[in-house]
């Protein structure tokens, strides 16, 4: 169908940051960072507030320009590519986007076709099918004529993801897609992202505040502090008590999840007893 072009993984596909420095005003958030996003995988960027993970995501998505260094999308400097061409390759869902008043779900998702349309062109069947696919994939089929401002937080987030899906990009970047959602809706959104990754081969990069969710849902975890990457790789290898202490400055017990085997982080506060196992090393 209409998704076939994104189903096959292009061998040239790559999203890479090469020695980028990014900052706002006088404040340098990221000094010289390089990262290669694993194609076809789900990558989670984790780290404390202000560590530069959102800044990194926004730079990868071209929303910010690095002061030095380059972001490469499929071998080209992302800032030298035409904006629409980038938008056909890479979708970005910023943190808590705002929908215009009284817009319907269908109309919002339709905006995702923007990069595929040309001036004066009428709505095509290809566009329509893409919108339907996106609504279906996120379970928003029944919501199509509802107003976005009448939906619950979880539904709303799913609708925004539908919009990004209608864009049909091989890369999808999301800034804290589960913030402000209750646990059930968080799982719903994360499961949906895994579905997309598995069924469409979409490369996903997301910023997360929840270590356990990152450990459970990501193929690759990138841990950041003060604009630098302190560890990256498979969650089982990266998420350790040492790394958590290094990145967040907290003591935590890390153990295998009793059901899934993924690392499970149990943070300890000042009033908790110290973990016995770590005392004697």
């Amino acid at each position: 169908m209409t998704q076939t072009d994104t189903l096959t993984v292009d061998p040239q596909q790559e999203l890479r940051a090469e020695a980028i420095s990014v900052g706002y005003g006088d404040h340098l958030v990221i000094p010289a960072l390089s990262l290669e996003v694993a194609t076809g995988a789900v990558t989670a960027l984790i780290g404390p507030n202000g560590c530069g993970k959102s800044t990194l995501l926004r730079t990868l998505a071209r929303l910010l320009s690095p002061r030095s260094g380059t972001v490469l999308l499929d071998g080209h400097d992302i800032h030298r590519l035409p904006t629409k061409q980038v938008a056909r390759r890479l979708g970005i869902l910023p943190q808590s986007p705002l929908a215009p008043e009284s817009i319907t779900v269908g109309d919002l998702v339709w905006r995702g076709r923007h990069p595929h349309q040309r001036l004066g062109q009428r709505r095509s069947t290809v566009d329509e099918e893409a919108v339907l696919d996106a609504l279906e994939a996120t379970g928003c089929a029944e919501l199509v004529d509802r107003r976005v401002d009448s939906l619950s937080g979880g539904q709303r987030q799913r609708v925004w993801i539908s919009m990004a899906l209608a864009q049909q990009t091989p890369y999808l970047l999301l800034d804290e897609p589960t913030t402000f959602l209750d646990i059930a809706h968080q799982l719903e959104v994360l499961d949906l992202l895994i579905d997309l990754n598995q069924s469409r081969g979409t490369t996903i990069v997301l910023v997360s505040h929840d270590l356990n969710q990152a450990a459970r849902y990501a193929d690759v975890v990138v841990a950041m502090a003060q604009g630098r990457i302190l560890g990256q790789g498979h969650p089982g290898e990266v998420i350790t008590a040492e790394l958590v202490s290094q990145v967040y400055g907290i003591t935590a017990e890390v153990m295998p999840h009793p059901v899934t085997g993924h690392p499970l982080v149990l943070p300890l506060g000042r009033h908790d007893p110290r973990p016995a196992a770590r005392d004697d090393t």
Binding site: R62, A87, T104, R111, L119, L132, E142, Q198
Partner: protein, 374 residues
């Protein structure tokens, strides 16, 4: 039961059918999926009817208002038979003067001017994402008033200079607001705040100029700063007509970009919109529309502020631009009909009645908006 429309194939949630019952289940599922898709398709395509209906109604009302304005305007009584030839400029004597030289340009000018004010307002509201951020609020009207009032007060004989002076005033104002709000890009909030501030400065200058004027000058200056379509001439109507055409082209070029921009700068950029370039282009085009219209008809209040929000609420799914333009035309024309014919108060400058009609609608919309939001 809601059949799992949520997940596409390959997610492994639904076991593959292995027997006849399974095949039937699979077929039912596929059938339900197709039904849902057909329903969604219908929903996506439908509901344009409401927009078409609203546009048609407004067009009919506009044509009616044009006719009313031409037939009712003023006190001169023209024989019915003299009207048709006068409408195309082939009338005789009084009919030719009253219909072709006075009422027709006035009516057309009111409609066209209202249309460009409405469009300029919608551009600003869209691009700044704030219903208050219209060209008149952020200083274009007050800039134009400084220019016009300066000419009226300081050089009373220069009749032709008023439109040019108001255009100059508006342009200087836009340039100042633009320069003062520029921080490597235009931040909407700064534009509004600096615009309101500069607007206050310009009003103070206008007030000072008024104190210098003679009684006659004060009267003329007051009339101008209220805004009126009385005394419009064909060249001015031609200018307004050109502006409407220019605005229509601009609106169709900007339409998709503005649609994306309504989702926020980041989402719009992610959808391939060049946000900075679009914002500047729309602000400049909107300013030009508002300034040139103001130079012809004066700063008619409230039109650019209220038409966009009314259009959005009238028909949530649009087409908002067309509706806004029609509402602007209808509002100014309707106000002008009242300005000429309302008992007790007529004749008054058009701007008085757009405020009287517009302000309550606007307040109602804003209050309702406040209680309805979040």
């Amino acid at each position: 039961m809601t059949v799992s429309v949520g997940l596409g194939p390959g997610t492994g949630r639904i076991p593959p059918p292995s027997d006849a019952a399974g095949t039937t289940r699979e077929m039912t599922r596929e059938l339900t999926r197709e039904t849902t898709r057909a329903a969604m398709r219908a929903t996506l395509r439908a509901d344009r009817r409401q927009g078409v209906l609203a546009v048609s109604v407004l067009v009919v009302m506009l044509v009616g208002a044009l006719a009313a304005s031409i037939l009712l305007g003023g006190s001169a009584r023209i024989a019915w038979g003299d009207i048709p030839p006068a409408l195309v400029g082939r009338g005789r004597g009084l009919a030719q003067y009253v219909i072709f030289e006075t009422r027709l340009p006035r009516a057309l000018g009111a409609a066209l001017g209202g249309a460009t004010f409405g469009l300029a307002g919608l551009f600003y509201q869209r691009v700044i994402r704030n219903p208050l951020a219209t060209p008149d609020i952020i200083g274009i009207s007050s800039g134009a008033s400084v220019g016009a009032v300066a000419v009226i007060v300081l050089t009373p004989s220069a009749g032709l200079g008023i439109p040019l002076a108001s255009l100059l005033g508006a342009t200087v104002m836009i340039a100042l607001v633009g320069l003062l709000s520029w921080r490597g890009g235009l931040d909407s909030y700064r534009v509004i705040l600096i615009g309101i501030g500069m607007s206050a400065v310009a009003s103070a200058i206008t007030s000072y100029l008024m104190t210098l004027a003679s009684l006659k000058g004060t009267e003329a200056a007051t009339r101008w700063s209220i805004g009126s379509v009385a005394g419009l001439t064909w060249p001015e109507v031609g200018l307004l007509c050109g502006l409407v055409l220019f605005g229509a082209v601009a609106a169709s070029v900007f339409s998709r970009g503005l649609g994306a921009l309504s989702l926020g700068d980041d989402v719009a950029a992610g959808l391939g919109t060049r946000v900075g370039a679009l914002r500047i282009a729309v602000l400049v085009v909107g300013a030009a529309l508002a300034a040139l219209t103001t130079s012809a008809v004066g700063p008619i209040a409230f039109v650019s502020l209220i038409c966009g929000p009314i259009a959005t609420r009238l028909v949530p799914r649009g087409p908002h631009t067309v509706l806004t333009v029609l509402l602007g035309a209808l509002l100014v024309l309707g106000a002008d009909i009242l300005a000429q014919n309302a008992p007790l108060i007529s004749p008054v400058p058009t701007g008085v009645l757009t405020s009287i009609l517009g302000a309550p609608i606007f307040i109602w919309l804003m209050v309702r908006n406040r209680t309805g939001a979040n």
